[in-house]
Amino acid sequence: MPARGVNYYSGNAAPDSRWPLMDPALIRELKSLLGPANVLSQKEDLLLYEFDGSVEKARPEVVVFPHTTEDVSRIVKLAAKYQVPVVGRGAGTGLSGGALARGGGVMIVFARMNRILELDVENRRAVVQPGVVNLDITRAVEHAGLYFAPDPSSQKSCTIGGNVAENSGGPHTLAYGLTTNHVAALELVLPDGEIVCVGSRHGDAPGYDLCGLFVGSEGTLALVTEITVKLSRKAEAVKTLLAIFDAVGDASRTVVEMTARGITPAACEMLDGWTLRAVEDYIHAGFPRDSAAVLLIEVEGLREAAESQTAAIADICNTNHAREVRTARDERERDLLWKGRRNAFGALGRLAPSNYVLDGVIPRSKLPEALEQIHATGEKYGFQIGNIFHAGDGNLHPIVLYDPRDAEQFSRAIAAAEEIIRMCVSLGGALTGEHGVGMEKNELMTLLFSDADFDLMRRIHDAFNPDSSLNPGKIFPLSKGCGEIRVRNSRRATGVQS
């Protein structure tokens, strides 16, 4: 049996001659436990699982598909017996490398644990398995006027388990909060295979808010096998506005003033001119190609409240020199505007072989300054950096288009990204608003946290995951990490396929 933490990294650098690194007996035991159809161990099958939505890359040594919580518990126990790491994965749409097997080992893909176990319309709760697709929860309850509020742009494919791990957000986070605000209880499998429930389906149970700790812990404390989510009631009235600007500064000042006047729309998204032209060419959502920026603003609530808010917002847009403020006349127009927003990253995919979507947060009062600095960073590094982001809560998503085949360009993209994230922190912001730290920003964590902070976070980590067998190499800088992980190649060397 190999000693743990020695040779489980299996990125590009793992020589094929040494493949698989894992003890074949573990694969045999996994197949006997789950059936051969639920275990992938051929190298060509595993290629699909070495990517997610980020620029990172790391290959698992075996991929398994459990159907029940008990399966997960047994898999984890087997992995512990063979001392190999375990990483959970939903749809692999994450943008920070959270679902990549940085330490190699066993990847548990929850795609086949995708049942909605219970719908309780009266009490507005749903109990779901982690592989349920985010939007499918809403589809299952919309007949009753309910929906699941967190709405990542990938909501047609991302899973609730991944949302819980990363504490995902979306455009409507502005009014309704992140995933953590919509989770009531969790069933977990700990690294030793123990199954335990935290939180409370209704109300709040006495004790520490463990649910609040596990949501957003990026799969480093436990694997989530069942989630009780809170369902929200659809608002009586929804109004969707498109405000068109001839200067980016006017659009960002509109957001600042709206926030300062205490107007909280349900969503407030910004697309800059370069991005909206790319989107318009692809989606034909109705964004004017000659504008410098648009704000897509949605207002929800009682009819009376929505109307007065809409009027106040239009007033602020006009004061800040909006060329035009349009209101979607019907559901079709509203859907089209949102289609443009949600498919923007796909539209940008037509312009370059790859794009790097950043995720940083700033105080909203600093928005105009931040956009100017992003522009300057783009010029410095020779990139056109697009901006399509959640302006209302200061959650920036600058997009760097690059060619991953060009190693020099890739490292320039990484450097530009780091400069932008550092800028967010220097303005009083944070490293990530909704994508998670993962293996994308773990080395940047020192910008925000002290040794004392890491000590405590490490003690919490070790309290649940003492051997770092769950999702090693994430969140913590490797120098301040948990347990041992030997990553032979840093992201800068392996993040790009040569």
Binding site: G169, H202, L213, G262, S365, D393, T432, G433
Partner: protein, 460 residues
């Protein structure tokens, strides 16, 4: 109590002689359940808090952090209590960006002082907690006590953005940040909410603030039966109107509430006259929203065959809102013998309420019931007597309520009880399946078990 030689002088070396009190009177002022500490310290900064905790950890001295001390009775009395940490001199508003609606404030600042600073910018923090006149920001978070604005604004976990605190090793730590959207690192600050000072000494808190609404009004409707009142209550929730508070209470609660309101300057709503169940709904917004909600409430209370229905003007709404906010405080003082239980049930049907009330009816005790926003109920058992039969009845009643709530897969917590009762039964009820995980969290934050040992769930 630990014995440490020359304790006051050693503490004086850390914070200065003017910051350490060890006189009998000072110690009694900070006594909890009859137990006084060995010294009271009043640090000036988070650094000093860190030094005191480092010292306490080295000497294994038990530390209880406090603000205005209005809710120190929550949980169980600490098993050890050596140092009281008076945080009321940490009172700066460190950062306030009204344009971003974000705030960073020291833990010892009184809520009402903070409210004034925010109101100057037409904003507020939706922490409508009891003992509002004295409570500190840190105490409101550490106690985790219910805010009456929870229906609309949620609990602190929905608007607390980050925290700074001293862990059990004496190190200054932080979690979260100061921006409204943030998933960087573990959300350790969420664990501090309601932790009763057992994980760390909170020194600073970051919040999202909210614009003050144009108007706040309320409506009161009375019903002859609990079933009718619950149906009305449920229909309002289902309807999706944005209520800031929604409470349902019985006539005994109304009578106690009227007593509180009858203080000079107060007035009792007409609906309080007579028996029955009341449903109180408050709401906020602009004039059009007020008019719309009032209209809906009038129609719905008529449809629900309310015995009485009354729209309250702004002043009376405010009075009743404040009285309900303070319920914990006046209920615990309502009689010489009081036991107050906070109850959460998976579902609350009229049969459940009747069953719970039946417990006191079988005993020589009075009771008062209020179902607060978000399904949290408070059931008070009270008696004017303090004799042995009363004590026996109170103990039997509380014990019976715990077992009935547990049988319904709910949870109950004894938030106020006479000391002798807490000596005989645990305020937290039975341990839950996730208790061992909570012990792991405690061990990580406070490896020496120096923070309010024994106060929390399961003896943590």
């Amino acid at each position: 109590m630990s014995s440490v030689a020359n304790l006051p002088s050693r503490l004086e070396k850390i914070v200065g002689s003017d910051r350490v009190r060890a006189s009998g009177a000072a110690l009694q002022e900070f006594a909890i359940a009859g137990r006084a500490p060995m010294a009271v310290l009043k640090p000036r900064s988070a650094e000093e808090v860190g030094e005191i905790v480092s010292f306490a950890a080295a000497e294994k001295l038990a530390v209880v952090a406090c603000g205005s001390r209005s809710k120190l009775e929550l949980g169980m009395p600490p098993q050890r209590y050596d140092l009281a940490l008076d945080l009321t001199d940490l009172r700066a508003i460190v950062h306030y960006d009204p344009g971003d609606l974000t705030l960073s404030v020291d833990a010892g600042l009184p809520l009402n002082e903070l409210a004034k600073a925010l109101a100057a910018k037409n904003q507020f923090l939706p922490l409508a907690v009891p003992c509002c006149a004295t409570s500190t920001v840190g105490g409101a978070i550490a106690s985790g006590i219910d805010s009456t604005l929870r229906q609309q604004y949620g609990t602190p976990r929905d608007f607390l953005l980050g925290a700074e605190f001293v862990d059990g090793t004496g190190k200054q730590c932080k979690s979260g940040g100061r921006v409204v959207k943030n998933v960087t690192g573990y959300d350790l600050h969420k664990l501090l909410i309601g932790s009763l000072g057992t994980l760390g000494v909170i020194t600073r808190l970051n919040f999202r603030t909210f614009p003050l609404p144009d108007l706040r009004e309320a409506h009161l409707a009375a019903f002859p039966t609990v079933e009718a009142a619950l149906n009305f209550h449920a229909s309002l929730l289902k309807f999706g109107l944005p209520f800031s508070n929604l409470e349902l209470f019985d006539s005994d609660f109304s009578a106690l509430l009227a007593g509180f309101l009858n203080k000079p300057g107060g007035s009792v709503p007409e609906s309080f006259v007579g028996p029955g169940w009341q449903v109180f709904a408050s709401f906020e917004g602009n004039a059009e929203v007020m008019e719309r909600i009032q209209r809906e409430l009038r129609q719905r209370s008529t449809q629900a065959q309310a015995a009485r229905s009354e729209t309250l003007d702004a002043q009376r709404s405010r009075q009743l809102h404040e009285a309900l906010r303070e319920a914990f405080d006046w209920l615990r003082l309502a009689a010489p013998s009081v036991a107050l239980l906070r109850i959460v049930l998976p579902r609350i049907a009229s049969g459940d309420v009747e069953e719970l009330l039946n417990v006191s009816q079988q005993l020589p005790l009075r009771s008062a019931f209020v179902l607060r926003a978000c399904g949290v109920a408070y059931l008070t058992l009270l008696s004017n007597a303090e004799d042995r039969p009363t004590k026996a009845a109170l103990e039997r009643g509380v014990s019976e309520l715990f077992s009935r709530v547990e049988a319904k897969k709910g949870s109950a917590t004894l938030v106020h009880a006479p000391l002798w009762l807490k000596d005989r039964m645990n305020a937290w009820g039975a341990k839950r399946a996730d208790f061992p995980l909570m012990q792991r969290v405690k061990q990580a934050f406070d490896p020496q078990n120096i923070f309010a040992p024994g106060r929390f769930v399961g003896g943590i």
